[in-house]
Amino acid sequence: MVTLDVRPQLLDALSALRDRVAAARFPLPLAGAARARANRDELLAQLDDYLVPRLRDPEAPLLAVVGGSTGAGKSTLVNSLVGRRVSEAGVLRPTTRTPVLVCHPEDHHWFSGMRVLPDLTRVWVPHHQDPADDLLLPGEDPARVLRVETADTLPPGLALLDAPDIDSLVSDNRVLAAELINAADIWIMVTTAARYADAVPWHMLRTAKEYDVSLVTVLDRVPHQVVSEVSRQYGALLTKAGLGHVPRFTVPELPESAWGGGLLPATAVAALRTWLVHQTLDPAARQHVMARTAYGVLDSLNARLPELAGAAAAQYAAALRLTAAIESAYDNEHSRVRGRLQAGAVLAGDALKRWRAFPLDCTPGELLDTLVESLSALLLCAVAAADERVDDAWRREPAADAPELAARAAAPESAEHRIGLAVRRWRRELEEYAEDEVRELDRGPAPDPEMVAALVATVLLGGRRARTAGEGLAERIGAHGALRLRDRGGRLLVEHVDRVMHAERERRLAPLDALEVHAEPQPELIAALSVLQKER
């Protein structure tokens, strides 16, 4: 028999693991991401709501959560077990919207604090008030509230929790129900004669089996004539599912169960009540029940954490693919821009026409203007082409549908603006260089610095086509000066082009980086799990 006592190392390992789980993010909409998110939340809830508090305080009361489908009579069952109307029951579905926890008055302190289910706001209902009244504060989210009731009829050390439907139409209720059931020491699964073959409760039973928790099933609302037949068939189904050992209780259908307000006669739920009381009062049985669920959940981590780690790895791989698409597109375009600069593609169109007319019919300023314009057109075209390639590549990636990535802040106009700014800055610096060069010249009449700047820009951007510009430059400022100016201007050009392409690439990468998908969560999760396994 496994026993349960406080073990600080285990708790430490567990809280480390909890932090790792809480840190795991799955922002990219991959095939398994939604599932992974749900698994993470569930696991986190189970650690916070059940495992950590239970291992910390083994002497806390047992919590039995009553779960099941709509209309299975969960509230009626809880009311009957308590012997008083604590949870509203009725014919309209879904009935229970606010979960109700019932415990012995002495145990109240265990549940009024935030020891278990810290996410739920506690509501205290005085006895004399009708529980059906709407007691919620106006601002309160009705789904995130837990009502704590006390009843002397329950033995100390046992608490019952009436959960919402596991298949409720309200999806928040479904999530809440799953969360509450995960917080239980004893899972009480309620189903009915009409429902025992439904798919939804069976999902839950299979989950219970997977976690190897202390499970009880109640077959509710069974017409008494068919008790034996239905019970036998249900038993057969359970045995087939490998749950034959699970205690089964049958509650007959009574008029009281149909008209929900009533309580079932004590005899109808006596067997279940006796079983629960036995689990509570007999120390050995209590230990067993508690340890079984706790260790069952601990064991289930062995399968669940690697799954989460796998999903985290898939996220990272997808993020890498997206990043690689951006980087390769921009790198490609970058090298294309370099190639075109060398080929003199900037000196084409307007710029070429100006250059042909230079200097007779065109001033150096005009030539510089068109060259600058042409250079920004080249860069803008490269950036737009890179973006297009990225979009093409991303269209094949499901992960690229993340809303953060889809809403691209960078409008093409602003790219044009940024590139124009950078190119104009290059022009200014080039003009300064030309002025420097002209000033250093000690020869007779100093050439016009603007003319020199225009010529050197043409040389840098015109490739082979601008050979004569080089000659003209050499004539004006001497071969040595021309060479020096060309070198400096060329370095300046490369630097500016690189900076523009780099900046645009970073802009494109920014939303992806903002998602913070890293490689670390996967190894960290596995490491936390192995530490935990060592502590067991």
């Binding site: 409720s168 068919v226 065109c362």
Partner: protein, 616 residues
């Protein structure tokens, strides 16, 4: 569903056999009348036995014991029966045609997965059209244990379908036809002959109104047996109408509402929702539950057929006690007699298919290539070939030449001298170079990209893609074409035009120079003493010549501005128009054609939706 379609295709050659099949429309010797009439619980005297132990529950249990022994298989027809095929109304017919054309037109643009559902609807509509229009196939669907089979038996008047406490009970669909000629219809549902039944003779005769009804009892949709759900999904796609049977315990199940009712909200007119087992509810609880059910259905988006409006009828009944079954029978009778269910179902299917296709066809924005976008494209291409610069260069060159022609000879001489001393740049040396890549490639690329973006803005994704592809395809070879064109259309052919005043100006300039010479010679003559001394006239002549020369040059320059500008503009315009024409032919026209194709498809989609104009 595809399996069913396949069956349907194989069935067609068999259809001629049907008339030869012997069939008894009268069915004189109906096999096995029910020996225990208290089986159908209607009017059972035990209903008022009071306490819970043998009241509603006991009856429910007893109802389940008599199974099996009652097998009413469909008899073979004796007389050749005539199947009147179904006809769709003109509106539905045209919508189906429009959908067919739409699918055909879109094949090249959309992937098969997107069109699959529309194709299925068309297949089903065609298959249903080939079958009897006199019959209405109604399925009974619901959760386990909600009493589908019990209601089925209550409607048929005989315990045909097995009922029981064992969950799930019914494993395969069972059909029951109230009149003949429905064999091929039931065949289409994939129900084997051993599961086809006839209602109790007496009930059928009494229920002449239900003539034409084919009732199908389905397995449950929510049990752990997955193959049941598959059966249900398959048959629900083929029947004309559905009766959803819910019970007080399960009426709010998420499975029912989220998986079935919400997606089928468009089928509201061919749905009934029946709250069974109201005998389990005490007092006025039945009314409350019914109201709650109505609320839930309303939240699902299902139009409720209240006050005689078309929509889903919501009824409360108890198949066990027979409460409310009569009303259902009456509603069903009216429904079947209308014979409109198959068409309405197909119409709803078309609605759903159209709604599913909406994102790939409809758009909220105005689409098309605006005049500004076309202008902008032309401007960008003109920039790429350098039209503005070329025009300005031509203008300045012309002006320069004009100045040179009308300038004073002295000025020209000075300029010539100065030019000799200047280092030669660009212009002269470039003359000899071959013109390669005159057009700015990056500007052409950017222009095409921009115009494609403008044209595809607001289009659904596949069509935007098609527009972009058309633009890119057209832009291949565009820069080369523009290169060639820039050479061809660069400058106006022939010598630049000269204005009429030109010879006068040149003559005036020459005469001014002549005046200077004459004045000068005159003065020289006086100095040498050949001429009589007269200082006034020759000095005046020289002054006129010296002042007049630059004056004429200046006024010529002013006067030449206009023609130069015209000449430059002409050069620019020629290049610009040539480039724009090239761009239009290669890029804008294919893009416009693609947009037109989209517009046609959208109009077609509008016809499918039933709006007519297709504006959305």
């Amino acid at each position: 569903m595809t399996a069913a379609t396949d069956q349907d295709h194989t069935e067609h050659p068999e259809r001629p056999e049907h008339p030869e099949r012997p069939e008894h429309p009268e069915r004189p010797e109906h096999p096995e009348r029910p020996e225990r009439s208290d089986h159908d619980a209607e009017g059972s005297p035990r209903g008022d036995v009071s306490p819970w132990d043998d009241g509603l529950i006991a009856r429910r249990v007893n109802g389940s014991t008599g199974e099996e022994q009652y097998r009413v298989t469909e008899p073979r027809a004796s007389t050749p029966q005539k199947v009147t095929p179904l006809t769709y109304g003109p509106q539905l017919g045209s919508r189906l045609d429009a959908l067919r054309e739409l699918v055909g037109q879109s094949r090249a643009r959309l992937d098969n997965r997107t069109l699959a559902q529309a194709g299925r609807v068309l297949d089903e509509a065609a298959a249903r059209r080939g079958l009897s229009g006199q019959h209405t196939v109604v399925a009974l669907a619901g959760a386990t244990g909600s009493g589908k089979s019990q209601l089925f038996n209550a409607l048929a008047g005989v315990p045909i379908s097995e009922t029981g406490v064992r969950r799930p009970t019914t494993a395969a669909p069972i059909a029951c036809s109230w009149s003949d000629g429905a064999a091929s219809l039931i065949e289409r549902l994939g129900i084997p002959p051993r599961l086809r039944r006839r209602p109790l003779q007496a009930t059928a005769d009494a229920d002449e109104r239900l003539r034409g009804l084919v009732l199908v009892d389905l397995p449950d949709h929510d049990s752990a047996a997955v193959q049941h759900r598959e059966q249900v999904d398959r048959v629900l796609g083929l029947v004309d109408a559905v009766i959803w049977v819910v019970d007080p315990e399960k009426y709010a199940d998420a499975m029912l509402h989220e998986r079935y009712l919400r997606p089928m909200a468009a089928h509201a007119e061919v749905m009934f929702v029946v709250l069974n087992q109201i005998d389990r509810l005490p007092g006025d609880a039945a009314e409350q539950v019914l109201d709650d059910l109505r609320r839930l259905l309303d939240e699902d988006g299902i139009v409720l057929g209240e006050y005689g409006e078309p929509g889903t009828a919501v009824l409360a009944l108890s198949a066990l006690t027979g409460d409310g079954v009569g009303e259902l029978r009456e509603a069903l009778g009216r429904f079947v007699a209308e014979r409109g269910a198959p068409a309405r179902r197909i119409s709803a299917d078309v609605d759903i298919a159209a709604a599913r296709l909406r994102p790939v066809y409809a758009t909220r924005r105005r689409t098309g290539l605006s005049e500004e976008a076309r202008e902008e494209f032309s401007d960008r291409l003109a920039d790429a070939v350098g039209a503005t610069a070329a025009g300005e260069a031509a203008e300045r060159a012309w002006l320069r030449n004009a100045n040179r022609a009308c300038g004073t000879p002295w000025l020209r001489l000075w300029r010539w001298c100065q030019e000799r001393g200047e280092p030669s740049t660009g212009r002269v040396a470039l003359r000899g170079q071959t013109d390669e890549e005159v057009t700015a490639r990056q500007r052409v690329e950017q222009a095409v990209r921009t115009v494609a973006d403008r044209a595809s803005a607001g289009l659904p994704v596949p069509w935007a893609q098609a527009v972009r592809e058309a633009a890119v395809r057209g832009s291949q070879g565009l820069p080369e074409a523009l290169d060639e064109l820039a050479v061809r259309a660069g400058l106006p052919p022939g010598r630049p035009p000269r204005p009429g005043w030109w010879p006068v100006a040149v003559f005036a300039q020459v005469s001014m120079t002549a005046l200077q010479f004459v004045g000068g010679l005159w003065l020289l003559g006086q100095i040498i003493g050949v001429m009589a001394p007269n200082l006034g006239v020759p000095v005046l002549l020289m002054v006129i010549g010296i002042v007049g020369g630059p004056l004429i040059e200046w006024s010529c320059r002013m006067a030449a501005r206009g023609p130069a500008r015209r000449y430059g503009l002409e050069a620019e315009r020629r290049l610009r128009e040539a480039a724009a024409g090239c761009g239009r032919a290669r890029v804008l026209d294919p893009v416009a054609a693609e947009l037109l194709r989209y517009r046609e498809v959208r109009e077609q989609y509008g016809r499918v939706v039933g709006v007519g104009t297709g504006g959305s």
